[in-house]
Symmetry: C2
Subunit: 191 residues, 2 copies
């Protein structure tokens, strides 16, 4: 009956369990033991794949970023820079259950990284990568009126802020999409 376990797949299963728990009760309250119970495995098994909770959180964050990237690439049939940007950013916003779960993890991770600076480097890299992508698209679209790097930084911040507001129920989904579209119109023009 024993089947070969793909270690990456197993890590993803555990990270998914962590994400469900984080969405329910926040990350700080979650231990490796909780994750084991949620995933239906032993604590020793969890420790085999992740030595610490921080290691598991870092892995979960990378997994979320990969999924966002993959989903937005799946959408990118030949598209204009503006469509590419909108497609990516809509994949980031918590507009369905999957993305809400992902946003919970990112938010919990950010709150955690704010008090544990050593954890911030993974975040820094994926944010920088995202910013570069956005600036490239703005450049490709010939967007003007503002520097591309600053516009990209502002756009990413706007989406991070909208995600935060949606997650803490300050704001309705459609209002968040409208605010994003207004910003895209400002940056890319009304075309």
């Amino acid at each position: 009956m024993a089947r070969r376990v793909d270690p990456h797949e197993r890590r993803e299963l555990l990270a998914d369990a962590l994400m469900r728990l984080a969405a329910e009760r926040g990350l700080e309250a979650v231990s490796l033991r909780h994750v084991a119970a949620e995933a239906g495995v032993s604590t020793g098994m969890v420790q085999h794949y992740f030595r610490t909770k921080d290691e598991m959180m870092t892995f979960a964050l990378g997994m979320v970023m990969d999924r966002i990237r993959r989903r937005s690439q799946a959408l990118s049939v030949p598209a204009t820079p503006r469509e590419l940007v909108r497609g990516l950013l809509l994949q980031v916003l918590p507009l369905d259950e999957t993305r809400r779960l992902e946003n919970h993890v990112v938010l919990a991770f950010l709150a955690y990284a704010a008090v544990k600076p050593a954890l911030a480097s993974g975040l820094r890299e994926s944010a920088a990568e995202m910013r570069t992508f956005l600036a490239d698209q703005l450049r490709a679209a010939g967007a003007d009126g503002v520097g591309h790097e600053q516009a990209a930084a502002g756009l990413l911040a706007l989406v991070d802020g909208l995600g935060l507001q949606l997650l803490s129920r300050q704001y309705a989904d459609e209002d968040a999409v409208a605010a994003l579209d207004a910003q895209l119109a400002l940056l890319f023009g009304r075309r």
Copy 2:
């Protein structure tokens, strides 16, 4: 020796202790007992002023919002709408130790409210108030090119996102201010 204790002042002292602890270790790990130890009072004393941690967090959040409001009002010598907006938003961003502490609390509160929806109503109100103020200033400045409500929502989201990025050390202070200024230039024009 006993002096009359101003209950509001006492609450602020306790909320300040909560904020210091939240900045050090995150909110979820903090109990009323920790706050008592940090403030140098008994747990019973803390419980006299706050029945629950949620009650204390709600109070601390309101206190932070009041302080931001007061600081930005102190700056508002006769100013243009754009200067008013910039002054307020710079008071929100974590650009010095005080504001970093405040942002820690707000972020921790947001992460907590994301899993405890009942806490979100205070947040919703202060965000709505802020958005109305920003929309009014955009209208007063005759900003055009985008609806004032949506532009205000986007601007607040951008500042929330920049705050998040600064706090989790993804971004340098001066880059965040430059991204804010680029957005103000987009909305208010280059004047």
